[in-house]
């Protein structure tokens, strides 16, 4: 019982982090048709802000706020400096641009900071939290709670606020949205900001667990978030959230219950399952069928 609860919390924590990242990728994609492969570098930026700000002796809560805000600012900077000149370019050009930005930033981190990992100690969360008689990982519980709260807040923002409705309208039909008087630049800016803040929050959760930052920090989780976004169906924000959690559960439970002799194949099995899903539903699990394409 205890183990099962612990596994579920672990899966929710990991899945929640993937869900935040997948949502950040899908949000920008739905507005601009851009899959931002440099998204992982926003997590890395978050990690380095944590590292340097803690080193400067700033208190932990403020450091976390700074790191998340920094990721939001970096995301807006990416849009203004790199993506805006390619606003009307085709999908391939956008994809290559984001790859170039990703590799460029990784190289910049390696040469200007260090190729090695830097320790980041956000040790204000107890390693183990007792909930009644059940013991769960403190960081995993915080990750679960944080991602659930953020997802609910984001849902309220997208469903209930004028800007949120405008973002959904722009995602569905960019030209007609402008005909409503919706300012395209404002919506694009908002989607990059929200997407960056999500990367920042996910980045803090990620660094908490690893206690270090290196130039490739964001690459692996964003690759998985990208897969979650595709499996969920990029056009469906609900779908990518569900797929993010699904991925977290698959990864955690394969890790826990695979016998030791085959546990090295965990990721291979994960990808095989996901390829199977895409073979059956190429448009993604939750993407509304072709009429909404």
């Amino acid at each position: 019982m205890t183990n099962a609860v612990q596994d579920i919390v672990n899966a929710l924590g990991l899945g929640g982090t993937y869900a935040l990242l997948a949502l950040g990728l899908a949000l920008v994609f739905s507005i601009l048709g851009l899959i931002n492969f440099a998204y992982g570098e926003l997590m890395t930026v978050t990690g380095y802000i944590l590292f340097f700000a803690l080193g400067a002796g700033i208190t932990t809560p403020l450091v976390i706020v700074l790191a998340i805000a920094g990721a939001g600012a970096a995301s807006i900077a990416m849009e203004r400096v790199v993506f805006r000149p390619f606003r009307n370019a085709d999908a391939t050009t956008l994809l290559l641009t984001s790859f170039a930005l990703s590799v460029g930033l990784q190289t910049l981190f390696q040469t200007s900071i260090s190729a090695n990992a830097k320790g980041v100690d956000l040790n204000f969360i107890p390693g183990v939290i007792n909930v009644g008689r059940i013991r769960v990982g403190g960081i995993q519980l915080v990750a679960t709670a944080t991602s659930l709260v953020v997802l609910v807040c984001l849902g309220v923002f997208l469903l209930r606020t004028t800007l949120g409705v405008s973002i959904r309208a722009t995602a569905e039909n960019f030209d007609v949205a402008r005909l409503m008087g919706i300012r395209a630049n404002r919506v694009i800016l908002a989607s990059f900001l929200v997407s960056g803040l999500l990367a920042g929050i996910a980045g803090v959760l990620w660094v908490m667990q690893r206690a270090s930052v290196d130039p490739l920090l964001g690459a692996a989780p964003v690759l998985k978030a990208f897969v979650a976004a595709i499996v969920g169906g990029l056009g469906s924000l609900r779908g990518v959230v569900v797929a993010g959690f699904l991925l977290g559960f698959l990864e955690t439970f394969l890790q826990t219950y695979l016998p030791g002799s085959v546990s090295g194949y965990r990721d291979a099995m994960l990808w095989v399952i996901l390829i199977g899903v895409l073979l059956l539903r190429p448009q993604g699990l939750f993407a509304p069928a072709a009429e909404r394409a």
């Binding site: 004028t162 409705v165 309208a169 039909n173 030209d175 402008r178 409503m180 008087g181 509304p288």
Partner: protein
Amino acid sequence: MVKLALHPHRRAHSNGRESGDRVGRPFFEISNLSVSYGGVKALRDLSLDVAEGDIVALLGPNGAGKTTTLKAIVGWSRASNGRIAFEGRDLTRLNTEDIVRLGVTMVPQGRQVFSRLTVAENLMLGGLARGKRAGATDMASEMLDMFTILKERRHELAGNLSGGEQQQLVIARALMSNPRLVIFDEPSLGLAPGLASRTFELIAQLRTRGLTIIIVEQNVGLALAISDRAYVLADGRLALSGDVASLRGSPELKQIFLGIESAAL
């Protein structure tokens, strides 16, 4: 007396209507407009004007340049030459968002509701351009009273409405911005004949709200039935213009459509 003007490859700005007797600037005016896509001229030297309160049809076969003209008016594509003026203000350098705020809007082809948003959300967005303080809420309730089916289904996703209901929604959504010039792009497209006629009746009624209307339409008969004047494009140029009475049954108009639409005239 009616007047009919033929424009074989005309270049200089003039228009079919004897507008010299009107005082002041025209309500809406296009002068020598050209639009190119990747070096191909889709529209050459188009000039037309629309008087306040009129319904004006923009006709022509496929590829004549009608949709190109509309896209240029609402800022979806850029003019390579010429001027589009609404109450004397040049629209050619403005963004779509700003053009709509001036009081010009379009009901796009194929309805194009926001299918994943509710009917109420679609209407709310339609009211954004009029600004927060200008009574968007009153307008929304007026629209829901005018289109009762939308009131019944206001919490449903717009994508679940029928074609006719979606047509009502896009018209109501356009009216939410409190426009003075509304452009309809192919309003009959994809609608059953009965529904198309009802849509045109509705458009004709909008005149009583003080609106000025431009209709682009393949169905010449339907468009002429409610219009005051018409401009006919062919091969990216203005070919013919005049009052509806003079155009109806004119051999030139039949010639342009090569008999395709003549049964409808």
